[in-house]
């Protein structure tokens, strides 16, 4: 490793900010667009200071119209720009869902490859911050189901920095889910490193007894679960998916062939969630390796509850440990 490498310790939100700054600086075709992203710097300050440094033409405050934000980003991409748009909160993406699903995702295929759609849709997502309704949802499966979209979610500052660079450089549209409850978590970012591929999962903790698969906000929880389980003498492996579409089944398979047990953890409702897809495919791939059925821990098939109940709704340490116990009891 080069001697000059410097690690900067920064919060996840700041890492995205630095990443956007780097992209704006490197390529005049990169634009940042969204509600309140300019003067205010976004409601989470992820775009703080960018308009001041790059101007109103590069960092664009938009009307309050999500379909308009994504729809005009498509037009800008057709003109050769690389827009990075912010949807202010997860629950607000649905007015833009039509543009994302019927237009953004399909333009490349419909043009038989003649048109590229390098648009990044940033969505702060997930719960755990005591917000009002429509501010805590995890709609990633709705996007992963749509061919033509890539869906990713970083779990730490370093990945946030590098995955944003890769998302902006991608000629495919990327739905970039930012775990808002981890915005303020700090981590080391090596801004000179050569990052791993965007679609590759990462084993963030080695173990031998059971595999925990998670992404975004749940990775940290799973690491805590692994720590707690270690005190009881159990060795859990934690896989951070990083990308939900494409999904790195090879990495999960490799881990499960070693540990023979799998628990998938996400905040989104379990029903028809990403855990269902993982369970089905891993059962197919690892049928003779599995010692227990794949278990899932996630949200309930109910609207995201009022904030005073979100700790009941969201997977927590005890619920995941309970699933670990159930798996090991087979």
């Amino acid at each position: 490793m080069a001697e000059t490498v410097t690690f900067k310790n920064m919060a996840l939100a700041k890492a995205i900010n630095e990443s956007l700054r780097r992209a704006l600086d490197a390529d005049p075709k990169v634009l940042v667009m969204g509600e309140d992203v300019g003067k205010l710097g976004g409601v989470f300050r992820v775009t703080d200071g960018l308009q001041k440094d790059f101007g109103e033409s590069r960092v664009v405050d938009t009307p309050l119209a999500e379909s308009g934000i994504v729809g005009t980003a498509i037009g800008l991409a057709l003109r050769g720009y690389r827009p990075v748009v912010e949807i202010q909160f997860d629950g607000f993406v649905f007015p833009a869902y039509d543009q994302i699903v019927t237009q953004l995702a399909k333009m490349h295929a419909r043009s038989l490859g003649k048109v590229k759609m390098p648009v990044v849709v940033r969505i702060p997502y997930g719960g755990g911050i005591g917000a009002v309704e429509h501010h805590s949802e995890s709609p990633e499966s709705l996007f992963a189901h749509v061919a033509g979209l890539k869906v990713v979610s970083p779990s730490n500052a370093s990945d946030a920095y590098w995955m944003m660079q890769q998302a902006i450089q991608s000629d495919d549209p990327v739905i970039f889910f930012e775990p808002k409850r981890r915005y303020w978590d700090k981590g080391d970012v090596n801004t000179e490193a050569i990052p791993g591929p965007l679609h590759k999962a990462q084993v963030v903790r080695e173990g031998t007894d059971l595999t925990l698969v998670a992404y975004g906000p749940m990775v940290k929880l799973c690491q805590e679960v692994a720590n707690a389980a270690a005190e009881e003498g159990r060795s859990l492996e934690v896989v951070d998916l990083r990308s939900i579409s494409p999904l790195d089944f090879d990495a999960i398979q490799a881990s499960v062939e070693k540990t023979r047990r799998l628990v998938v953890v996400h905040e989104a409702p379990v029903f028809f969630g990403s855990g269902a897809e993982i369970a089905a495919r891993i059962t197919e791939r690892c049928f003779y390796h599995l010692e227990a059925p794949v278990l899932r821990v996630g949200g309930y098939h109910a609207p995201y509850p009022p904030a005073r109940l979100e700790d009941e709704y969201l997977p927590g340490l005890d619920r995941v440990l309970d699933a670990v116990d159930r798996s090991l009891a087979y």
């Binding site: 033409s57 938009t62 009307p63 119209a65 379909s67 308009g68 994504v70 729809g71 005009t72 980003a73 498509i74 037009g75 800008l76 991409a77 057709l78 003109r79 050769g80 720009y81 007015p95 039509d98 543009q99 019927t102 237009q103 399909k106 333009m107 490349h108 295929a109 419909r110 043009s111 038989l112 490859g113 003649k114 048109v115 590229k116 759609m117 061919a147 033509g148 890539k150 991608s170 000629d171 495919d172 679609h199 579409s245 494409p246 999904l247 790195d248 089944f249």
Partner: protein, 382 residues
């Protein structure tokens, strides 16, 4: 509150189907249905220098577009196309606006802009691929600055607006034109595109072909005010043009494009016209509209009107019309043969171009599909 005012607030039974306000909106017209040239102080200058040759060109465009459209309708009836959206009756609105464009302008069509495509130099047979079911678009939008047809109603108005925002950022003086219909005017995306284009002063012309019907829903089901008046509320001008008058459509679109180029922002043009046929070959207009209505509009036929003018002004002779008839038949034949010769796509096209960068799941499924095809012993599946 008085009894009367309570009664007045009660929704009227006829609400929503009432005809537009009685004050007749201004309609820009340069050629009457009888083919008489009428003066217009504001818009005459945009066609003042038009030559007899150019007039014959507009006529030729309309005739050939109608011939192409008729051929496509026949081909659908013969089972060669799965569906067709006819433009019959809207030739003047499309050719007039299409001929107002410069090469560097960019067009965002719906799925009915066959005449505009013609003006852009898109080979008409390319338009038939999606209707035959061999692709979902098929042409390179940047080849002729003519975007792919958009099926979801009104979506393309936002793409046009974003593209126009990009044109402005580039400092170019090109203009962008977005086509949509009266039905699309009810869509949120159209309203959002008006908002975005107004606040960013985007060089875009919104060209609404009000053909009176959104499948079976009349314009009165979409709006209580004349559509062109919508623009005022968004802060840019709107004008209604006789959409069956190719000269007026040309003049008004030129005016709107000049505004866009000059940095004056968006314009809404409502081309007041009529869809003579069905919405698509799937519906049956006799179930929802009266024959007399169509007959009344037939009297305003855009092609007949220009022919009358050309003849009265001695701008075209019998030889021209006869030659055009021959050319028209040749086009029909070419389209017919091209459609029948159109090959089915390679079966692996399912997976092609889903992603630009590739995707592990698509690769896995493509491999599975290939293995399944290869499993047929006789090789037919390969």
């Amino acid at each position: 509150m008085t009894v009367e005012s309570t009664a007045a607030r009660k929704p009227r039974r006829s609400a929503g189907t009432r005809k537009s306000p009685s004050t007749k909106p201004e309609l820009v017209q340069l050629l009457t249905p009888e083919g008489k040239r009428v003066k217009n102080a504001e818009y005459d200058k945009y066609v003042a220098d038009i030559t007899p040759e150019e007039l014959r060109g507009l006529y030729r465009d309309m005739v050939l577009t109608r011939r192409f459209d008729a051929e496509a309708t026949s081909l659908q009836r013969q089972g060669e196309l799965g569906l067709w959206a006819s433009l019959l009756g809207q030739e003047a609105a499309q050719i007039g606006s299409g001929r107002a464009l410069r090469d560097d302008d960019y067009v965002f069509p719906t799925y009915r802009e066959h005449g505009v495509a013609w003006c852009r130099g898109v080979d008409p047979t390319n338009l038939l691929g999606m209707f035959r079911g061999v692709n979902n678009g098929g042409w390179d939008p940047n080849g002729n600055n003519f975007h792919l047809y958009t099926i979801v109603i009104g979506s393309q108005t936002l793409h046009a607006t974003g593209y126009a925002m990009g044109v402005a950022k580039d400092g170019a003086d090109s203009a962008v034109i977005a086509y949509f219909g009266d039905g699309a005017s009810s869509q949120g995306d159209v309203a959002e595109s008006f908002t975005f284009s107004a606040v960013y002063n985007a060089p875009v012309v919104f060209f609404c072909q009000n053909n009176q019907w959104a499948i079976s829903e009349p314009t009165e089901r979409q709006t209580r005010v004349p559509l062109y008046q919508r623009a005022q509320g968004f802060g840019f001008p709107g004008v209604r043009v006789d959409g069956n008058d190719v000269l007026a459509s040309l003049a008004v679109t030129k005016w709107a494009l000049e505004r866009a180029r000059g940095g004056e922002g968006p314009t809404l043009v409502e081309a007041y016209t009529y869809r003579m046929g069905a919405h698509t070959t799937s519906d049956d207009p006799s179930k929802y509209r009266a024959d007399e209505e169509r007959e009344a509009w037939e009297a305003k036929d855009p092609i007949l009107r220009l022919r009358r003018y050309l003849e009265a002004s001695n701008h075209a002779d019998e030889g021209f019309f006869a030659e055009l008839e021959t050319e028209s038949e040749a086009l029909g034949k070419r389209v017919r043969e091209a459609v029948r010769a159109m090959p089915d796509p390679d079966r692996f096209a399912i997976f092609e171009h889903a992603y630009a960068d590739g995707h592990a799941l698509v690769d896995e499924e493509r491999a599975g599909f290939a293995a399944y095809q290869a499993s047929f012993a006789d090789g037919e599946g390969a």
